[in-house]
Symmetry: C2
Subunit: 384 residues, 2 copies
């Protein structure tokens, strides 16, 4: 038995095993290419049951899997060496995934790539019933601008993306309120303007007059002091926001530079960070949005209002006067510890008689459709 | 012999074969992570000989190759299932590549991804001796803005990226000249601002007063008429530039909207396209840059000036009066047919006594370091 015939035997054997495993799935054959595929790429595809079908040419591989939502689905090889596999039905919205080829976890060559889950990799878009709110439509479009700057506090080059609404360039005088909008853990400053579709959501809201035109600043929530050899990593994100980003934005862009016209919001880790920044700087911000997160994360214990965030929530009356909108959102399918910690936080707000708005995204988990919907709700309520 | 032991035998056998093939290479062990790796990723790496070392975990794979510069280098597996391979020395600059795992051609999970060669995939940056001109430096940085628009001519949403220089936002009155800058075949509107580093090149040129501050518009050179079922694909890129892009840019941005303050340039296919657009619209543009391409491509035959581009080069005297700069650039290592067709084109220019500037990029082929250098040269000469 020579090398090639061993290989051939292994492949045939593998095909038989995988076919046996996956032939049991009955799927509806109405698959269509995912909307986030590279141009001209037919796979991956999604069907009306919200199943994902992936496909890749790998003639010499022993085992290929679709790794999606924490499950590795075996794929099956055809006579041309093309492996194909189908997932269980997925939630509506945007999900990261990868292919696994003989133990190598790699991006699917069929998709565009997104930064999330700590890597630049593949994702699938499962069409949502309400997707028109983030669709590209024939309305006036704002710009998303990459802004590079040197940060003295971190001794590094950083960048943010800045959304300016369509009418920003119509005249040279109008000034705009600003929303500072943050990503979650293992994500970066690209998240909101790429998979978050913040620009398209705002274009649509502004065109239908549901939102006032505003600037949105999306920076990177990871910011650390320059390290000496033996020092621990110390976050200076709040200092970067207050001392570097806001003054830069107020200089470079036509903002209305006062607290009434500044909002801050974030998702998950970003909700946690921005709540802390908000409460430490009520002279700078007047609107807060927490999407799938609060600063008591991950605890579901009752909050001691005297010690939590240095007692910043103790005086409910003053908070109600100063904060024009305190907004929280959560997906109904979010896993622990998110529902528990958000619930504990809401109880504290209620005990303190602090006014807030609470929104639930139906049938979504700790993922981007939840956060697109949160932004859509939140952005329609601020600066009014 | 069960399934697992067959697999094991195949892997061991494959390792022995590959080791035998690659152990002969003597390499200098001063490899460093490539500058276009994803944050925190150690591989791929480049050494002082300009060799590339790639590495990937693929414990069950039979064969893994590094596919770079038209050569597939066998990689070797260690006891942990990590495959590693080293290439021959590469040219300085930016090269696309991929990994091949048991016949599957996939992006390397270690790198950032770039659109080129018709796909979004991996690339390696081999440090260039002159790389300071496109490095990120502590100088004022301009913005790169994504601009989405609906094109009636193609009946589709399109986008361009627009560079505005650092001083664009300093006041609301100053107006700027505009360079329209095009990518090559199998590339798109992202090329110039990502791997082309057009923004950093201009930031550096403007900071050192080698260039005048200018706006750069980078759009997609693929633009087709909406197709009826049986019609051939018909490019309308020139019409999109003249009827849609230029009026949009002159409305949205503070341009100096006259021919003296408009340049057009492109690389390869983009050089070919923009030369045609330039010569058809001398009332609109006054500066031309052709990087690694001309409109007689791919022919190296002597050009018949009466028929070439409808005789647009017949009247050398008028051309010398109207065109303020006619600029051509080429890498010294470019493959056929580029040197031949550019040579034939230059002979025609000389025969017509048409003034032009010719630049050669040392030791680079039909790749991005050639084009970064071309832009660096060209941008320092226009609008003066």
């Amino acid at each position: 038995m020579n090398f090639k015939s061993i290989l051939f035997s292994v492949n045939v054997l593998a095909s038989i095993i995988c076919t046996a495993q996956t032939n049991q799935i009955k799927v509806i054959e109405d698959f269509k290419p995912s909307s986030v595929n590279q141009q001209g790429k037919l796979y991956p595809q999604v069907n009306s049951e919200r199943r994902v079908r992936a496909s890749i040419l790998a003639p010499q591989a022993n085992k290929v899997q679709l790794d999606l939502g924490g499950i590795k689905y075996d794929m099956v090889k055809d006579e041309k060496g093309i492996w194909t596999g189908v997932s269980e039905p997925q939630d509506e919205g945007f999900h990261y995934y990868q292919l696994n080829i003989d133990g190598a976890s790699v991006p699917d060559p069929g998709t565009v790539y997104f930064y999330g889950a700590g890597r630049l990799g593949s994702a699938i878009e499962i069409p949502a019933a309400d997707q028109e709110f983030f669709a590209i439509r024939d309305v006036p479009h704002g710009l998303v601008s990459e802004n590079i700057y040197f940060s003295k506090l971190t001794n590094s080059f950083r960048r943010c993306f800045v959304y300016t609404p369509a009418n920003y360039n119509e005249d040279s005088k109008t000034r705009f309120p600003v929303l500072y909008l943050q990503h979650g853990s293992f994500e970066d400053e690209t998240g909101w303007a790429v998979q978050g579709k913040a620009n398209l959501i705002l274009d649509n809201l502004i065109a239908s007059k549901k939102s006032v035109p505003m600037i949105i600043v999306m920076d990177n929530g990871y910011a650390y002091k320059p390290q000496s050899n033996d020092s621990r990593q110390e976050s200076v994100f709040e200092e970067v926001v207050i001392q570097e980003i806001i003054p830069m934005i107020d200089t470079k862009f036509r903002t209305i530079a006062n607290r009434e016209n500044r909002a801050i919001a974030g998702l998950s880790m970003g909700a946690n960070q921005t709540m802390r920044i908000m409460m430490n700087n009520l002279d700078i911000f007047s609107h807060y949005g927490g999407f799938s997160g609060t600063s008591n994360y991950p605890s579901a214990d009752a909050i001691d209002v005297n010690s939590f965030l240095d007692g910043k929530f103790k005086d409910g009356e003053t908070i109600n006067k100063k904060i024009k909108l305190f907004w929280l959102g959560l997906g109904t399918k979010e896993p622990s510890p998110f529902p528990g910690s958000v619930r504990a936080f809401r109880k504290m707000l209620e005990k303190q008689s602090i006014k807030y708005v609470y929104y639930e995204s139906p049938e979504t988990a700790h993922e981007w459709l939840t956060w697109r919907r949160c932004l859509n709700q939140f952005a329609s309520k601020i600066f009014k």
